[in-house]
Amino acid sequence: MIPNSYQPLTREQMAWRAAQDLKEGDYVNLGIGIPTLAASYVPPGREVIFHSENGILGMGPKPEPGKEDPFMVDAGKNLTTLVAGGCFVHHADAFLMIRGGHLDVSLLGAFEVSEKGDLANWTTEDPAFPPGVGGAMDLAVGARAIRIIMDHTSKQGEPRILNRCTYPLTAANCVKRIYTNLAVIDVTAQGLVVLEMIPGMTIEKLQALTEPKLQLAADWQVLTPPAAPEARAA
């Protein structure tokens, strides 16, 4: 066990970092969980349009108290809102947008990602419960860029970035970038390239927590999100 001389990022800080890469005019689908938080951290003045698989294009932040609308839910069935300019489509069209390469970015959670960018995020094969896939496989093949937000290791400290995924795949060779609570890593044809690491992290320490070989980018940077990123209305 390597003593922690570093402070892993919080969920909000990971979401903040992923949000910084969303560009003006991007159409973006956010997966359930930490990815959903990214909507709150898009830099002020930047217009990003959020898509929800259940037929919302132009999804807004969660409603203010007293303004909840039972007919407005997101992919996780939580109450949400529509921004000015937003519209509704039916399911087949919502997934046409996903599958057909119309979304710029799909930001997803994961159990595991492989060196080749294989993604496992739909089932742990728990025999006690029925499996559920939802829109995970559609989202993993369709968007122009598939980016992942996940803790770098399991709760037991085991790597989740692996040579090969151990859980069933959602899609092969799809992940382009991984935001973890320790680093930002790109999946390239030449292997995994570390672009950013949190303060106190070294490539040796990061490698010890990662199964495949990591390369450190020549121009790598220290990853320093705000201590408590300021959420804003999306």
């Binding site: 259940n54 069935k77 399911h91 046409l96 419960f129 559609d138």
Partner: protein
């Protein structure tokens, strides 16, 4: 004069046979025709195959059909949603079969039937457990699986407004699977909050055109 409105939910679901494939629209608890599902329970059809995104909530609607043993099979993308204990109990008792499909594959298979097409190749699920056993083809260097069209014997639809021809509009994200399911069944039955006069709907804003609709019943405060 064409008038697709029927007076009761019982009339709306009359004639649904044992063994039918029933398209149940909705996403979670939003946009679900719970009144029609209740009427179908009363009607008594058994051995049903249900196509839905989720697997019902609580002890009403789809969950009640399942707990009463009326459902033989559920085709869905995400059974684990909300209080799905009725489904979970039946699943653990192995009294129903689950066919798990990616969400967009469900909706596109129904759209495909509605469009009169014989199926489609999709990259979704290719090379995964859910794609096992499906015919594959490499198209432009990318592996695809073949998906067949999916047809309902009956579709249970929740809309907001209808006119007597059966033109429909929906409310916000309660639209979800409703328009595609309305197109994909032999018998499309709709519960609505209110009827409007023919010509009152903005023709630019009709979401489901009347050609897809067979029966309409008003539920709730205006029933």
């Amino acid at each position: 004069m064409i008038d697709k409105q029927v007076k009761t939910t019982a009339e709306a679901v009359a004639g649904v046979r044992d063994g039918s494939t029933v398209l149940v629209a909705g996403f979670g608890a939003v946009g679900v025709a719970d009144n029609l599902l209740g009427a179908l329970h009363e009607q008594g059809a058994r051995e049903l195959t249900i196509v839905a995104n989720n697997s019902g909530n609580g002890d009403y609607g789809l969950a009640r059909l399942i707990s009463s043993g009326r459902v033989r099979k559920v085709i869905c993308s995400f059974p684990r949603s909300g209080d799905y204990s009725a489904f979970l109990n039946a699943y653990r008792a192995k009294s129903l079969e689950l066919e798990l499909l990616p969400q967009g594959t469900i909706s596109e298979r129904m759209r495909c039937h509605a469009a009169g097409l014989g199926g489609f190749f999709s990259p979704v699920s290719a090379g995964t457990k859910l794609g096992e056993g499906k015919e594959t083809r490499e198209i432009d260097g990318r592996l695809h699986v073949f998906e067949k069209p999916l047809k309902g014997d009956v579709a249970l639809i929740k809309a907001n407004k209808a006119d007597r021809w059966g033109n429909l509009t929906y409310i916000k994200s309660a639209r979800n699977f409703n328009p595609v399911m309305a197109m994909a069944a032999d018998l499309t039955v709709v519960e609505v909050d209110q009827m409007v006069e023919l010509g009152e709907m903005n023709p630019e804003a009709v979401v489901t055109p009347s050609i897809f609709v067979d029966r309409v019943v008003v539920v709730g405060a205006n029933a």
